[in-house]
């Protein structure tokens, strides 16, 4: 039971550490927050199409809607000259409102209550199986989702390791070197939206964002190289999950928020360490 919960959370932390490292370095950390909110209309559409609460349609529609929001944000800020942060705020709040109106318009027929959107159902993870009476029943459904998305991340990282490394640090150089940085960004955002959607199921919309931003930011402060940054952010994510779950059991807290708080605590410690040390630690990518 506990193992399944921890494995699900751990895989999410793994994906989020990878995606978060790119997005924090590329100054797009708040895009994850926007994407986590904008999956709502897709979620409702998927629910309407499939009629179930956890079908693949829901995951597909929600991921598409969250990816489209990121695309639209980039599009508006690039072509309409709207400041990036304003474009972010404009797009995700609008999509979120559309989602809210869809949910309320469907009224009591919808089994999508605000609580599960915001807080997730981490403790129910071990009880949700596919019930197809096949080998797929070996592991809970949310864990399978995490495994598939993690595999996609790993494959993507192996295929594009060098290009991604250059893109994360120097977009201008990327452009000059002829690396298709726009499609790299789109790929990272698409994978991020998939991670958010499968993670949101267990953790709720807002907490998923914590796994993306906090470990990556912590790792940035304490790392000297790109490889170290990825490894550190994965470890920070895993440590905060293990400790957060332990704290949740001991003090009777909600496990999701507890994990994110732990991760935030680690960030605060790292920030203080960085501030007092203030040597040449950390690296600063160019714009």
């Amino acid at each position: 039971m506990t193992l399944f919960i921890l494995a699900t959370a751990g895989l999410l932390a793994f994906q989020a550490a990878l995606g978060g490292s790119f997005l924090v370095l590329r100054r797009s950390a708040m895009l994850t927050d926007a994407m986590a909110h904008s999956l709502l209309p897709g979620l409702v559409l998927g629910y309407l199409v499939s009629g179930s609460r956890s079908g693949p349609e829901i995951i597909f529609f929600a991921a598409v809607s969250s990816f489209l929001s990121a695309y639209l944000i980039d599009f508006l800020s690039k072509f309409a000259g709207i400041w990036f942060e304003a474009s972010t705020g404009f797009v995700f709040t609008s999509l979120f409102s559309i989602g809210i109106v869809l949910v309320t318009a469907l009224g009591g027929n919808v089994d999508l209550d605000a609580d599960c959107i915001l807080y997730g159902e981490l403790l129910y993870v071990p009880f949700r199986y596919s019930y197809t009476h096949s080998w797929y029943d070996l592991l809970p459904l949310p864990l399978w989702n995490q495994i598939w998305v993690s595999l996609v991340w790993i494959v993507f990282l192996i295929l594009k390791w060098k290009q991604l490394k250059i893109w994360a640090f120097d977009e201008g150089f990327c452009r000059n070197a002829g690396i298709a940085h726009n499609s790299l960004r789109r790929f990272v955002l698409a994978l991020t939206s998939m991670s958010i959607v499968v993670g949101f199921d267990a953790f709720g919309a807002v907490l998923v964002v914590g796994f993306f931003i906090l470990p990556a930011a912590t790792a940035w402060l304490i790392s000297q190289t790109w490889r170290a940054m990825l490894l550190n952010s994965i470890s920070v994510g895993l440590i905060s999950i293990a400790l957060g779950y332990g704290f949740a059991l001991v003090f009777d807290w909600e496990p999701g928020p507890s994990m994110v708080c732990l991760s935030g605590f680690i960030f605060v410690v790292a920030a203080f360490w960085y501030y007092t040390k203030k040597s040449g630690s950390g690296f600063r990518p160019t714009h």
């Binding site: 924090v24 100054r27 797009s28 950390a29 708040m30 994850t32 927050d33 909110h37 599009f75 508006l76 072509f79 309409a80 000259g81 709207i82 400041w83 942060e85 304003a86 474009s87 972010t88 705020g89 404009f90 995700f92 709040t93 609008s94 979120f96 409102s97 559309i98 809210i100 109106v101 309320t104 318009a105 009224g107 605000a114 915001l118 807080y119 807002v206 907490l207 964002v209 914590g210 931003i213 906090l214 930011a217 940035w220 402060l221 003090f251 009777d252 807290w253 909600e254 999701g256 928020p257 507890s258 994110v260 708080c261 935030g264 960030f267 920030a271 960085y274 501030y275 950390g282 600063r284």
Partner: protein, 403 residues
């Protein structure tokens, strides 16, 4: 009875829209829109704390804790950004998530130990339908105070937004101003998130100013557009939600604002994405046409173009080329003039690069290929005078005289 309830809902949303759009202008212009979004989530633990201590919703304690926690959040965003190398949006995300999850942790803990937390869930999704007169009074007071403050400090506000260094040297106490603005934003959001919910409040803070700033850079027009659009959307949403059962007024307001702003972003005659796209296409077409004309001008490749590509079609339509006897095209008298104009610019620029900038003769062509499309007639004439009206370019091709 229904109409009375409708009145409450509409006035509540209207006041919230007015207050948020006005407060949003300095927040937006200081490029802190996302901090506004973070703030609307970060107040959450403050509200939970206040409800826990006072045992009731919407007490003065809520406002006090909202302002304190909100100011602390904004201060932390600023410090994280300044003291470490984390960029601003990363710092914003960190503070948002951290405060929000502390709030969730706190709320969950209190709920499990049986403490009633009235109305805390409204903080997240709003409750325009169950608006109380006390909420309205709070909003009305804030609106009046906000308007007075806004118009009294307007001069500093614009100065700070457009040139914060100059504002500082003109005597604006920058830190105090920032702290005050943060506290005010936190106060306004504490009042509105209980009605609209966190995300929708953030929307009303950001979207009207974004629209106003997109449409006009004139301060008065910016205020007018953002406040008017927000208020119109709120009133319309109020009426629509009254006729549709179980409709969230706040969300509807934001959607109406979106429907109002998005067409402008796409179809604005000057700045819209579509118009910019059309202008780019036109410009690309002009370059193509000029290059085609140049090909016909060169007697060595008269037989080049026979097909009907878009460029040829445009040139035919403008009577710049005409069919010749070989089933191909040739320049019309008008086309010859036009082609000479482009070739003249090309060769003048080559001469300039070679004679004045001392660029070798074999590497001037590429640059001239671009400049021939960019030089206007005035620049061309001055260039010609500057070079003493040369008769031939570095490759000894004749420069057609100006006609």
């Amino acid at each position: 009875m229904v109409s009375e309830q409708l009145f409450w809902i509409i006035s509540g949303c209207l006041l919230a829209a007015y207050l948020l759009s006005l407060t949003g202008i300095p927040v937006y212009l200081r490029r802190e829109s996302l901090a506004g979004d973070a703030l609307s989530h970060a107040i959450f633990p403050g509200v939970v704390l206040a409800v826990w201590i006072s045992g009731e919703n919407n007490s003065w304690l809520t406002y006090l804790f909202g302002v304190l926690v909100g100011s602390l959040a904004l201060f932390l965003i600023q410090s994280i950004h300044q003291k470490t190398l984390i960029p601003k949006d990363g710092a914003t995300g960190i503070v948002l998530i951290l405060f929000f999850s502390v709030g969730l942790l706190f709320m969950g803990r209190l709920q499990r130990s049986g403490v009633p937390l009235w109305g805390v869930q409204h903080v997240l999704l709003g409750k325009a339908a169950t608006l109380l007169p006390s909420d309205l009074i709070a909003l009305a007071i804030l609106s009046v105070v906000g308007s007075i403050l806004f118009f009294y400090f307007q001069k500093w506000l614009w100065l700070e937004a457009f040139d914060s260094k100059f504002a500082k040297h003109s005597g604006l106490p920058k830190n105090t101003y920032g702290l005050f603005l943060n506290a005010w934003t936190a106060l306004v959001l504490t009042a509105t998130i209980q009605i609209l919910g966190a995300v929708l409040s953030a929307a009303m803070l950001i979207t009207p100013s974004a629209l106003g700033h997109f449409l006009s850079h004139n301060p008065k027009k910016l205020i007018l557009i953002s406040v008017l659009s927000a208020c119109t959307a709120a009133v319309l949403a109020g009426f629509i939600s009254a006729s549709v059962p179980a409709m969230s007024t706040g969300a509807l307001t934001v959607i109406l604002l979106f429907l109002l702003a998005f067409p402008f972003f796409l179809f604005h005659p000057k700045k819209g994405i579509l118009m910019k796209w059309i202008a780019r296409k036109k410009e690309a077409g002009r370059w193509k046409d000029e290059n085609t004309l140049k090909q016909f001008y060169n007697p060595a490749n008269v037989h080049l173009e026979t097909g009907l590509n878009p460029s040829i079609k445009r040139l035919l339509k403008n009577r710049l080329i005409q069919p010749n006897n070989n089933g191909s095209w040739e320049l019309s008298p008008k086309g010859v003039l036009e082609a000479e104009r482009i070739v003249r610019k090309h060769r003048l620029w080559e001469t300039f690069l070679h004679n004045r900038l001392l660029i070798p003769q074999d590497s001037v062509h590429e640059n001239a290929e671009l400049m021939e499309h960019l030089l206007d007639d005035d620049a061309e004439e001055r260039l010609s005078v500057e070079l003493n009206n040369p008769g031939a370019d570095p490759h000894q091709s004749p420069i057609p005289p100006k006609k």
